[in-house]
């Protein structure tokens, strides 16, 4: 199986700790981590914090994708919008989005709002760029055909340009998805009072390392599975692309 090396790594982990080669204080055994994780799920704050993270990440990402896609298409379709918004996008693209963590906290404090704003601002750019490129590359012939068949300009946007831009938007959204995880975890680690990132820090400060490891692994693998799931979904939805 392709993922066999990971299984081997897990076995080595367990063995190394059980054999006493590494101190339990530094590296809890895999079995301890699993037990602590299970306890957290059953009776700990995992679900409350998980819900907070999910809400923030989901809301921020949804806003980023919807508004980002619309902005990108608008920029590609109307020159005036491109002239106005284009320079903004260009100037902001190279800036690392995590640098916005302190300023969102300044504006909205330690709660959900700052995280949602951060993810929205940070994740919008890849989607906008994808939508822009996707809409631009939409064949002129397709647009003209639709117009000649009686569609209004706005209808053409919805019926022809948007679907044509979908593959690129999907690509941008994939980047945005991974970025949203990074921004969410980063901000929750540093400036939060709830959420999975906060939970990791909290457990760490409390010295409950096996539970901390458990949450770290859960969060890391959530990021991995989200990406895989997204890929599967997009392959299905965009099957017409061949």
């Amino acid at each position: 199986m392709k993922y066999l090396p990971l299984l081997l790594l897990a076995l080595i982990w367990e063995a190394v700790v059980q054999l006493g080669l590494v101190s339990r204080d530094l590296l809890p055994s895999l079995s301890d981590v699993a037990k602590a994780g299970w306890t957290l799920l059953r009776e700990g704050d995992f679900w409350a914090n998980g819900a907070a993270s999910l809400y923030r990440g989901g809301a921020g990402l949804a806003l980023a994708i919807v508004i980002g896609a619309l902005a990108g298409i608008a920029m590609a379709w109307w020159r005036a919008v491109d002239a106005l918004v284009g320079p903004l996008v260009e100037a902001l693209y190279p800036m690392p989005k995590s640098a916005l963590i302190p300023v969102t906290v300044l504006w909205l404090g330690f709660g959900d709002g700052s995280k949602i704003l951060l993810i929205f601002l940070g994740c919008m750019l890849p989607v906008t760029l994808g939508a822009y490129n996707g809409a631009r590359s939409c064949e002129q012939a397709l647009v003209w055909s639709a117009r000649s068949l009686g569609a209004s300009r706005l209808r053409v946007l919805w019926d022809v340009v948007l679907p044509a831009a979908l593959p690129e938007i999907a690509n941008g959204a994939r980047t945005a998805l991974a970025l949203s995880f990074v921004l969410l975890v980063s901000s929750e680690l540093i400036v939060a009072r709830a959420g999975l990132g906060y939970l990791i820090g909290f457990l760490g400060e409390g010295g409950v390392y096996d539970a901390m490891f458990a949450v770290v692994l859960v969060v890391a693998f959530l990021g991995f599975f989200a990406d895989r799931l997204y890929q599967r979904l997009m392959d299905r939805l965009l099957a017409w692309r061949a």
Partner: protein, 258 residues
């Protein structure tokens, strides 16, 4: 005239943004706390530069990011070659790389802190962990893509296996490896800054988070501008290095930054 505009277009964008910022801040639509004037922020940066604080923070952040980047580059390229050439290495590392890539690796910072403490080593290690991925994947792809006719020609002309790696594979793979390095550098910078935000202390990240704790709005915005400029300069330097090393390459193009 059109050529000139094209060349300065990014600058026009930045200037337009700067102007919009200053005007919007002056308009009174938002409080100076929410959005300090650009002039205030720039004055603040100037002040920090004069007092030496800017250089202290910037210097430390650059030291940590570049050290991490260098380690990631060396280990990443070496690992990339090993994985491309050795079937066992490939079997071992392929799943690690494909699983690790989409993970928010910053989540491992508390573990790294547990193992390595709160100082430079842990920050640099976090940078290495994050930055190594694009380097390894680029190196593997580049090595596997070297045209076999190049290798055959070299062997035909008398090259030994070891000479092949050094004299043919490495230069042939270099363009794509450079691209991987160009992607890794901004990652190194921002991961370092996030780690600094978490662990505090001296550095651009630490300074920014302290500023936000003291509700020092100009300080926070100054940090953003400093990071943006630092990131931009690093990218430009990399582009120059690439142009120099790859002068022979038909398409010398820097990739978009993250």
């Amino acid at each position: 005239m059109a050529r000139l505009t094209l060349r300065f277009a990014p600058w026009i964008a930045v200037l337009a943004l700067a102007l919009a910022w200053e005007l919007f801040a002056r308009s009174g639509a938002v409080t100076p706390f929410m959005l300090p004037k650009l002039s205030t922020v720039l004055a603040r940066i100037w002040g920090d530069a004069a007092s030496g604080e800017l250089w202290q923070n910037l210097g430390l952040t650059l030291y940590r990011s570049l050290a991490g980047f260098a380690v990631a580059a060396v280990i990443g390229i070496g690992l990339g070659f090993a994985v491309a050439y050795n079937r066992v290495m490939r079997w071992l590392f392929d799943p690690l790389i494909s699983v690790g890539f989409p993970m928010p690796k910053i989540a491992f910072l508390p573990i790294i802190t547990l193992w390595l403490g709160f100082y430079d080593v842990s920050k640099i290690s976090m940078v290495v962990f994050d930055a190594i991925f694009p380097v390894v994947t680029a190196t593997i792809a580049a090595t596997l893509a070297v045209e076999r006719e190049l290798l055959w020609s070299a062997r035909n002309l008398g090259a030994s296996e070891r000479e092949l790696l050094r004299e043919v594979v490495f230069p042939a793979a270099l363009p794509q490896i450079m691209t991987g390095l160009q992607v890794a550098l901004p990652i190194a910078l921002i991961v370092c800054i996030v780690a600094e935000m978490k662990l505090g202390g001296v550095g651009l990240g630490g300074a920014m988070i302290t500023a936000s704790r003291f509700a020092d709005s100009p300080g926070v915005f100054a940090g953003i501008v400093e990071i943006a400029i630092a990131g931009y300069l690093l990218v430009r330097v990399m582009a120059r290095v690439r142009a120099r090393l790859l002068a022979w390459h038909p398409e010398t193009e820097a990739p978009a930054t993250v």
